[in-house]
Amino acid sequence: MLRLPSSLARSAALAIGATLAASQAFAQPVDTARIQAGDANDWLTYHGSYRSYHYSPLEQINTNNVSNLNVAWIHIPGRSTRGLQSTPVVADGVLYYTGSYSRTFALNGATGEVIWSYIPELDEALISRQTHSPYNRGVAIGDGKVYVGTMDGRLIALDMKTGKPAWDTKLVDSAKLTVGFTGAPLYAKGTVIIGAQGGEWPGRGPIFGVDAATGAKKWEFDTVAGTDEAMKTWGNDSWRTGGGGGWMPGTYDADTNTIWWGTANPAPLYDWSGADFKTQGARPGDNLYTSSVIGLDADTGKLKFYHQELPHDTWDFDSAVGEFLMLDRDGQKLVVHPNKSGYIFVYDRNAGLKNVWRITQNSNFVKDIDPKTGELIGRRDFAAGKQSEPLCPHISGGVSWNSGAYNPKTGLYYKLGQEWCMTLTVSKTTPITAPQVQLNIGADFKIAPPPSGEIYGHLDARDPVTGAKKWEVRFPEPPLASVLSTGGDLVFVPDSRGTLHAYNAETGAELWNHADGTGHQGGIVSYAVNGKQYIAVTAGFGGMASDDYAPTFGGVYKSMPRDDGALIVYSLK
């Protein structure tokens, strides 16, 4: 396996990028050992680290001085169709991030200066047929390369120093399946893992393991009927158009060499089966491994364990959220994973269920989920026709696909919950797969207020294992971006109107806010260069959830662009 930089490559890089932070010259290559060790100055994976806390231990910016936070620099990626949804990664003072169409940038983390950029040539005719596109949610780094997926089904590796493509591997026949990759990959021990889109797009939702050195595909796991056992859970051969997928990066458990991944929903989104879903409707059976949490061997892609959070999901409340908090609590190693429904699942390291709690107030797709067995109690299975009672939460979820943050200092999990519902008329549909796969929804629906009154969103500070709530802050419209917590006892929430808020992590008191000029729907990270702490956030609105905001809320959303965005980086003066 090639490991850069060699001392030669290092000096060459110095000659080219003389303005780079001095620390970079002494940098160790980013590999699994370095990601595991972690360094407060870096943000080495999409979720910050393999622990997936979205937490930075840096404390230079803190409750006492956050009011002095100012914009240090801005970067405009261009062509931000459907907004800017990515989360940067940072190593050795260099920030790597993507915009729509997988436009990839390496920027000097202190100044914003462009070190290199890579604008891939994509199949634009194919992209024009897609819906959940052309945004890109980020990169992975490791073994001297930056890895990015594309909407036309490719995974590309770029040299970390130069941005030159090292390899470009076609993984999905997107021209036929209409879907590709929007999620960031995950790097673990010489393998790059990336999951395809799917869900309401009929297909088999593969997750891939690719050799980081050569780009050769090592393994592929189909989230739809990926084993003989799973095949039996799709009546009438419905696995052929099952959906699934794993479009957000999960994480890596180095102790057991296991990839944790969350899988997407089955197609059609809504089923007309009624209560007899095991034998009737579009896809009779439990539909494994959709709306599940799965553990795959990192080297072989073989399934080690799974827990299906929603057997026969007929609400589009999938498990694709890639957030897996790896906690050590009272001698137990736990994993916390939010399901899109707003139920938060707590597992041991083999996906054995430890607890389930709920973050939303308005929820009626089930009466409850048994915290011991995970059984869905009082589930609503629809027959074709208009449903008398609105379905809660709304299709955009009780939580977004973006991530919350866990702060090991406070022991609290800061997570956004959404209160909204929808009217629903379920219809029988037939999957369209020729000449190219088309969306398969299975219903007409419309956003509706919850029984509790107006639509709103809330940031909760809770115990991640028990769900016990310490405080809550409400927002008039659900925020859709990721949350950041820091060692400076702060929680940052980029909201939908375009304001970035900082709260006291202990009390929830708002300490500072700043307008970023447009709605947020991506990530927020913190890092340091030459001893100075920075907060980097992407702003830029658009996509299937945010497109509902103008017709639903009016106000600032009426004029908010859905083809624009910027990376905004803050520091103390």
């Binding site: 819906t131 739809v224 088309q438």
Partner: protein
């Protein structure tokens, strides 16, 4: 509903396991089927529940991510063009999915939309 596994797709899958650079990862998921084989009349009501309805709420009767289609002032040409070519970042292009006569039936459906009785 009939679903046939395509034998060529199965072959392609077998092939892909020996191709290192994974150029062909064609899934057997693609049975040879379509909601409406060319020339067959299109069930536009079902099409909205399948593909259009996420953005055109209530079968096209209400505004959502996309505009309300009922009572649209747009010309047939405009509608035909929008369905064929879509609009970047807003609406997918369907020019490769539907032929002209199928698009005619979509236009007829939109022109015939009435407020929901329910």
């Amino acid at each position: 509903m009939t679903r046939h596994a395509s034998s060529s797709a199965a072959l392609a899958l077998a092939a892909s396991t020996i191709v290192a650079f994974a150029q062909l990862s064609i899934k057997p998921a693609l049975a040879q089927q379509a909601a409406a084989p060319a020339d067959a009349p299109l069930d536009v009501h079902e099409l909205f529940a399948t593909t259009c309805g996420w953005c055109h709420s209530d079968g096209g009767r209400a505004a959502g991510k996309g505009p309300q289609l009922m009572d649209t002032a747009r010309s047939d040409d405009f509608i035909r063009n929008r369905i064929k070519n879509g609009k970047e970042g807003a609406m997918p292009a369907f020019g490769q999915v539907f032929n002209d006569s199928q698009i005619d039936s979509i236009i007829a459906y939109i022109r015939g939309l009435k407020p929901d009785q329910g």
